[in-house]
């Protein structure tokens, strides 16, 4: 890290990036812990009660946005978090970045509890290690520098009155990472050129309105990359872009992981793009992971009926390979009233009587492949 701030470095500078494709696994582990570990994460949002509800002393209704999610992400790995809107995937991303505080469970980033780290008021205020010397604000800054987000809509995420240079340089200023204008320019240039905006000088005096959708998304990614983070949470980064441009952005994320060992949490509702560049995939339904496994295995032989249905409705770009689609009727139920038993049973085409009563836990079905279904 080329950090010139006065804050102490939290962990040793990572070793050289892996040499070629498929080397992500060989990335050195800091003290053997995964970069990101999510343990039994719950996030609930209480709904406001109306006057009648208060008078009648009705219980407060609660949205269970995330309801017991666990997964680990190694350094240099990439995980796709797949689900429809309302499945809780964005809430997981928010908790991973410490933008929300989990109701239960915890998120560990590099061995530190993010909620304690970022918000400074956890179950215990005792923070050990090098973090102890830092104020809350400094801790938040350290986290922000190492974990960054790429937002969904590049038409909304950029300030229309800032030039590309200002947008990408702003994180450097906030984190006081550069000492001179020359240094800032060099880092902005490097970030823009990494993201394919070459030559950088051609772009940095421009405003977002002068750029195409794909170029804007590259600016958003450059703004995240300029801090040289370890983790990128990419929330539907291509869903607003034309198909011909999507490939570019996906290839860029793929290269960032391969060449720089950046860890990526990629949330999407599109299994086809997720299948293209991730190695592991977690399918979420109503706040839970229902299937987690290697991407190839999950796509070629999905076990959970929900995953099977999701895969069957992906449009295949060839009319000769049209196949039967399993179209689930209705939509994801309201996360206030989660069905008893398996939460998927009301829409499940294969449900049996037991599904109404037993809430299946995630069980291993093959090495590294877990499914939460009574029938698997």
């Amino acid at each position: 890290m080329t950090s010139s701030s006065s804050l102490p470095a939290l962990n040793p500078v990572p070793g050289p990036p892996p040499g070629g494709p498929g080397m992500g696994c060989g990335w050195p582990q800091a003290e053997g812990v995964p970069l990101l570990q999510v343990e039994d994460l719950h996030k609930e949002f209480p709904l406001p009660r109306g006057v009648t509800a208060i008078v009648r002393r009705q219980p407060r209704r609660i949205v269970h946005a995330v309801d017991g999610v666990s997964f680990a992400l190694d350094r240099g790995d990439i995980l796709a978090l797949v689900g429809e809107s309302g499945s809780g995937k964005t809430t997981v991303g928010m908790n991973v970045l410490g933008l929300q505080r989990p109701s239960r469970g915890r998120v560990c980033f590099d061995g530190y509890d993010v909620a304690e780290w970022a918000q400074g008021h956890g179950p215990s205020l005792e923070v050990e290690g090098p973090l102890a010397a830092l104020s809350r604000r400094q801790r938040v800054m350290r986290l922000r520098q190492r974990a960054q987000m790429v937002f969904q809509d590049p038409y909304e995420a950029l300030n229309p009155r800032q030039t590309v240079f200002d947008i990408v340089a702003e994180p450097l200023t906030i984190h006081r990472l550069t000492r001179s204008r020359d240094e800032t320019e060099a880092r902005v240039q490097a970030a823009l050129e990494t993201c394919g905006l070459v030559p950088a000088g051609h772009f940095w005096k421009r405003y977002p309105a002068e750029l195409s959708g794909g170029q804007r998304q590259r600016v958003v990614i450059a703004g995240a990359l300029v801090l040289e983070p370890d983790l990128l949470v990419a929330d539907e980064p291509v869903s607003m872009l034309d198909v011909s441009i999507r490939a570019d952005i996906l290839n860029l994320l793929h290269e960032l992981r391969r060449q720089r060992g950046i860890t990526i949490l990629y949330t999407t509702h599109d299994l086809a793009t997720a299948g293209f560049f991730t190695r592991r995939m977690a399918v979420m339904y109503l706040g839970r992971i229902v299937e987690l496994g290697p991407t190839a295995a999950l796509l070629s032989r999905p076990r959970h009926p929900y995953t099977q249905a999701l895969i069957s409705v992906i449009p295949v770009p060839n009319p000769r390979r049209r196949h039967t689609r399993t179209i689930l009727q209705g939509e994801i139920p309201n996360p206030v009233d989660i069905p008893p038993g398996c939460r998927f049973h009301p829409r499940c085409p294969q449900a049996i009587a037991e599904c109404r009563e037993i809430d299946p836990p995630l069980r291993p079905v093959a090495p590294g492949h877990q499914v939460a279904c009574l029938l698997c």
């Binding site: 429809e84 809107s85 195409s212 959708g213 034309d242 198909v243 011909s244 441009i245 999507r246 490939a247 570019d248 996906l250 290839n251 509702h269 599109d270 299994l271 086809a272 793009t273 299948g275 293209f276 991407t295 190839a296 796509l299 249905a309 999701l310 895969i311 409705v313 992906i314 449009p315 295949v316 770009p317 060839n318 009319p319 000769r320 390979r321 049209r322 689609r325 179209i327 689930l328 009727q329 939509e331």
Partner: protein, 322 residues
């Protein structure tokens, strides 16, 4: 005779500087009863302009400068506005892009459909109009009693269904759906496509799907028109477009589309940007981005040639093997 035949349609947009922009040039296609056509291309390639032109709903700056739009042999471009009003919605209806977000938030879904029915004189009484609105909602898979709810009580998929129900209010024979599934989840997208296919089959509707998503087209269209920079690049049956594409643009577009059944194949993007309307290349509009360009490509635009029955390609190398 085709239900709808568009011949050499050309649309200009007037600008403040006086030089018109040639947004659409030489677009031709035809549509039979009960068939579906997919209109594919990147943002800004003129897909929506073509559809607006054939309904004569272009914005004020838009001018239809050439061509014919023959509906059952009658040229819609020669009709008076009063005559056109009897075609619009009654024969050709359109679900606009983002219409699901343009529903009136303070009125019930039913009253918004009733308004359309009474305005077009299709119901004798409010009672009859309500009855018909209920039928229309049932037709698109919404229980009739939910018509008394407001748009905010509907999910995205249901709002899209409600908008489709409105478009069907006047029993049209052609339904144009502009990006009907953009911004919807995959499962909801599949539900909407299933609905459109069902309507096409049951009501013998001719369907035009305007989209940038080739996957949707492959799933549900019989014919495909690929547009690039305001002109037709390739026009053929769905099978030919996806299995024997001849225009370099179509080929590149297919390579950029992830195929879940063949993961691991590299995605190739198309370098460069679509042409700006105020700086169109003199020759083929795809020439600056084409990987197979020749000298002649930069000199004059290639004519559309029919290389096989019903397979039209605008490329000098259409007959060369890819």
């Amino acid at each position: 005779m085709a239900l709808l035949e568009v011949r050499d349609l050309a649309v200009d947009y007037l600008t403040d500087r006086g030089t018109p922009l040639h947004a659409v040039e030489g677009v031709s296609f035809h549509l039979e009863e009960g068939r579906s056509l997919g209109l594919v291309g990147e943002s800004g390639c003129g897909k929506t302009t073509v559809m607006m032109a054939l309904l004569r709903l272009l914005p004020q700056e838009g001018r239809i400068v050439g061509g014919q739009v023959l509906f059952e042999g009658r040229d819609l471009l020669r009709l008076s506005e009063a005559e056109m009003r009897r075609v619009r919605w009654h024969q050709i209806a359109m679900v606009f892009q983002g219409a699901m977000n343009a529903l009136n938030p303070v009125r019930t879904i039913e009253s918004q459909i009733v308004e359309a029915l009474t305005w077009h004189g299709l119901a004798r009484s409010v009672q009859a109009a309500r009855q018909r609105a209920g039928e229309l909602l049932e037709l698109v898979g919404i229980p009739a009693h939910r018509g008394r709810q407001y748009p905010h009580q509907y999910s995205g998929g249901m709002r899209q269904r409600a908008v489709i129900a409105m478009a069907l209010a006047c029993n049209p024979r052609i339904l144009i759906a502009d990006e009907p599934t953009t911004a919807l989840d995959v499962m909801i997208q599949a539900q909407i496509l299933e609905l459109l296919e069902g309507l096409q089959r049951d009501l013998r509707l001719a369907l035009v799907l305007v989209t940038h998503d080739l996957g949707i087209v492959a799933e549900s269209c019989d014919e495909v028109l690929v547009m690039y920079g305001g002109v037709v690049a390739e026009y053929a049956s769905s099978d030919a477009i996806f299995n024997t594409p001849r225009h370099p643009y179509t080929q590149r577009l297919l390579q950029a589309f992830p195929d879940v059944e063949e993961p691991g194949t590299a995605l190739a993007s198309i370098p460069g940007n679509p042409p700006r309307l105020d700086a169109l290349p003199p020759g083929c509009r795809f020439e600056p981005r084409c990987h197979r360009r020749l000298q002649v490509c930069a000199a004059a635009p290639p004519p559309a040639i029919e290389i096989a029955s019903g397979h039209w390609v605008s490329c000098y190398q259409a007959e060369a093997e890819p």
